[in-house]
């Protein structure tokens, strides 16, 4: 090979390493945690600029032809470390966009707009980073000691880049394949449900923005150390779209896919098209068509192969014994072999906090929720006694689900109070209520679709040592004990509910009844002291419904308190005592079903309702 060819190969290797690091960072955010960061390139740019101004000599000493802040002339590897720190830190101000309140797609738009504007600002404001011209003559790492033009140095640079890419791969794998990574994927699949199971969405998303930002910063530092210049034209908002294309094509959620995508899209595709000769009289035509092709690739892949070339793998648990049961078998046949009410318990619950007066575990005072002038719930005061299976019935639109959502913290109350175990939890976010043992289920199917049934169950386990970023980084050995205990509990629950053959089935592939069961089991894994169930038997075969009811009574006997919304009066008759009747946002009556049936206004509300 000639030296020009050698240089080209080295060039490709460095670019590949840089793009792999960036794509892994983006995949960690987007593919694993579901944080759609359309401003990803800002973090790469921040890293590149940081590395540049940390390694450059002061502006005057550099001839004064370019203006920039800093210029501290710091030795390698300080600029690279600084780039990671700055890349991570500038993520912090963005966390307000990705909290619980803003829709994911709105947050993505906010980040996209930020990327456009950041580029505009840097382009037009010269004193900070030399404006549109950008920074040049950025010192290569250790250029005082070695000659950056030598083949040895260049090979070493490529090798270091690839080693760092491998290290980043190891790091993101360690995070993703941990219980913490499972929580991230749960949040990706359904953030409201993850919140209700005790996951702090803001903290998870902040951690992902910071981690991805640090990785993006590192990729920028490596790049700028190699090409020795950096300008706004290198980080237009569209560069982020190229990285998204890479992750989507490679396989979002699968870090191997991200590596493949990085090699396929920014490296192979952009290099291959570089050799298309430009057409005379049409300058820039090839570049334009390249962008068109990126756009086409995104749309076509999302349509024809949304899972990418290398789809996310299914995580099998060692215990999940595959059986010859068809995953789509109807739930009714399942029920035949299903829940065994007599079995010993695999449920652990938070010991319900002792109250001096032995009062109700949960009560509300004048709880109200308005939706644009409509009182969905109007001044409801109820009490749920410890250890009961309390029913909540009422016609459609009575406000049952809204009340339940306010109890769990899924939606805030307009006024009034929720008092759980003697504590006023009215303004407490859902995830903290869940951690106190107040756990809800949802009326609509709310399984984490791309997690297996076993993973769905494990995702709810509280206080798991591996369910923090620090715990995940400490490795499997640190959290294996908790994981094995959790798997045992989950396995026992699966046996008890007759779903052990489905442990490794994706929850999204289950039948309706199986999903309801999975959701109840998952709530139980959260170690609840009190369960709030929103129509747990809706759409379930009556026989299975009655078995679920028997299971719930069993749970109450074990000390769990349950408040259950249900339409089916027969279920109420058989299992619930007391029963609360709601109509038009208010409590109509409370008592045993027998007593309620004797009251005409209750019957009327139901029949007329």
């Amino acid at each position: 090979m000639t030296s020009a060819q050698l240089f080209y190969v080295i060039n490709l290797l460095v670019y590949a390493g840089v793009d792999i690091i960036a794509c892994l960072g983006l995949n960690q955010q987007f593919g694993v945690a579901g944080v759609t960061n359309f401003g990803f390139v800002i973090f790469q740019a921040a890293g590149a600029y940081t590395a540049a101004v940390l390694s450059l000599p002061s502006s005057a000493a550099n001839g004064g032809f370019q203006a920039y802040l800093g210029g501290w002339n710091l030795p390698f590897p300080v600029p690279w470390i600084g780039a990671m720190i700055v890349g991570g830190l500038i993520a912090v101000p963005f966390t307000f966009l990705v909290g619980r309140r803003l829709r994911g797609d709105f947050a993505a738009v906010g980040l996209l707009v930020t990327a456009v504007m950041a580029n505009l600002l840097v382009t037009n404001y010269r004193p900070a980073l030399n404006g549109a011209a950008g920074l040049s003559l950025v010192p290569a790492p250790l250029q005082g000691e070695y000659n950056p033009q030598s083949a040895g140095y260049q090979w070493l640079y490529a090798a270091v880049t690839l080693v760092l890419a491998a290290a980043v791969y190891w790091l993101v794998r360690r995070v993703t394949e941990s219980p913490y990574g499972r929580s991230l994927r749960a949040m990706r699949d359904n953030d409201v449900v993850a919140d209700s199971l005790g996951k702090n969405l803001l903290s998870l998303r902040t951690a992902m923005l910071v981690l991805g930002g640090a990785l993006a910063g590192l990729s920028g530092a490596i790049l700028v150390g190699f090409i020795t210049l950096w300008a706004p034209s290198a980080w237009g908002y569209a560069e982020t779209i190229v990285l998204f294309a890479a992750v989507i094509i490679g396989g979002a959620g699968n870090h191997r896919g991200a590596v493949l995508g990085a090699i396929l899209v920014p490296v192979a595709f952009e290099e291959a098209t570089r050799y298309i000769p430009s057409i005379p009289g049409k300058p820039g035509l090839v570049d334009d068509l390249q962008w068109v092709a990126i756009g086409l690739l995104i749309v076509l892949f999302l349509w024809f192969r949304p899972q990418g070339v290398l789809p996310e793998r299914r995580r099998r648990t060692a215990v999940g014994r595959p059986r010859s049961v068809m995953p789509n078998e109807d739930v009714v046949t399942l029920a035949g072999t299903g829940p065994e009410p007599g079995r010993s318990v695999a449920v652990r619950s938070v010991p319900a906090p002792a109250l001096p007066d032995g009062g109700p575990l949960l009560r509300t005072v004048d709880l109200t929720r308005d939706f644009g002038g409509v009182h969905a719930v109007a001044g409801v005061s109820i009490e749920v006694r410890r250890g009961t299976l309390t029913g909540l019935i009422g016609p459609n639109g009575a406000g049952k689900s809204t009340l339940l959502a306010m109890l769990a913290g899924t939606i805030p109350a307009t006024s009034g109070q929720v008092i759980y175990a003697g504590t006023d939890v009215t303004s407490m976010p859902a995830y903290r209520r869940a951690r106190l043992g107040l756990v809800r289920t949802f009326q609509l199917a709310s399984e984490f679709k791309r997690l297996t049934v076993m993973e769905n169950l494990l995702s709810a386990v509280p206080r798991h040592r591996g369910d923090t970023l620090a715990g995940a980084l400490r490795g499997r050995r640190y959290w294996r004990g908790d994981e094995e205990a959790a798997i045992d509990r989950a396995q026992a629950l699966l046996d008890r509910f007759g779903l052990s053959g489905y442990a490794d089935t994706y929850a999204g592939d289950l039948s309706g009844g199986q999903r309801r069961l999975t959701e109840i089991m998952r709530a139980l894994m959260a170690e609840p002291a009190m369960l709030l169930l929103d129509e747990p038997m809706a759409g379930v075969h009556p026989r299975l419904a009655r078995q679920i009811g028997a299971q719930l009574l069993g749970l109450c006997a074990e000390g769990i308190t349950i408040l259950m919304v249900e339409h089916e009066l027969a279920i109420m008759d058989e299992f619930c005592d007391p029963v609360i009747v709601m109509a038009e946002g208010s409590v109509l009556a409370t008592g045993t079903m027998a007593a309620l049936r004797a009251r005409s206004e209750v019957v009327e509300a139901y029949l007329v309702g």
């Binding site: 759609t36 359309f38 307000f96 966009l97 309140r101 803003l102 829709r103 994911g104 797609d105 709105f106 947050a107 993505a108 738009v109 906010g110 996209l112 707009v113 930020t114 456009v116 504007m117 505009l120 600002l121 382009t123 037009n124 908002y237 569209a238 779209i241 998204f244 294309a245 989507i248 049409k282 300058p283 820039g284 035509l285 334009d288 068509l289 390249q290 962008w291 068109v292 990126i294 756009g295 086409l296 690739l297 995104i298 749309v299 999302l302 349509w303 949304p306 644009g372």
Partner: protein, 288 residues
Amino acid sequence: MSLFLASLGFGLVTAAVLAIAAVGFTMQFAVTDVLNLAYGAVMIGSAFVAYWLNQAGVNVWLGLLVAAAAGAVASVLLNRGIYAPFQRRGSAPITLVIVSLGMTLIIEFGLQAIVGGTSVSYTMSQGPTVKAGGLVLTTVQLVIIGLSVVVMAAVHGLLRYTKLGKAMRATAANRSLARNCGIRTDRVVTVTWALTGALCGVAGTVLAINDGSFGATSADLFLVVILAAVFLGGPGQAYGAMAGALIIGLATEISAAYINPSYKYVVAFGVLLIVMAVRPGGVLGATA
């Protein structure tokens, strides 16, 4: 003071352009549930339709009407061919946003491959300058303001007094409920794409007229301003978008008179981020 009045005039014109664009965008989002980031690309594509006619000797105001039709057709096709199939499949909203970004690349750079990277201008007269109450505006600027007022009044009339407007509001509020009430929501959605697409085409052309020159990627920055106006008024709120457009239009142009004009869009950006952080549902207007 004259500096302030001059910038106020510019602000009113920008607000007029922005209002047409923002109302179209926000109604599109409300009814179709697609956060269509390719809106800016369709704007510029429509502006180029008017440009080609203009080059062939057609008056630009006539071209504006054809651009409106082009925007309508392009938007309906975009929905039929791309967005609707994804929605039918149950794709997440964020997937559609990514698809719309992909479509932005396809439309903008496909256009640039045809027209080249240089900017073009309409051949037209700015008309005599009009002075009123200290404001100095060209006839063209006055026409743009007048056009915008007419469009806003038409949107108001549509939403308040027509069956179609009611059906659009019902579909926006709850599509499945609207369908169950006998509203043919599929048709309402298609008509909405056509109407908002027409607004998009008009907005693209008046933007091109007002800016003087434009290229294939000129709408990228303006899209940010549209988003700022839309989010300020609350996403999906037509009247909110009108108010948002007025505030953002005036704020960007008046600030441009006092700070570096390169930063005028940064004001819009700041407003957008603050609104997203503080009031994700928008600050203005509560009715659709």
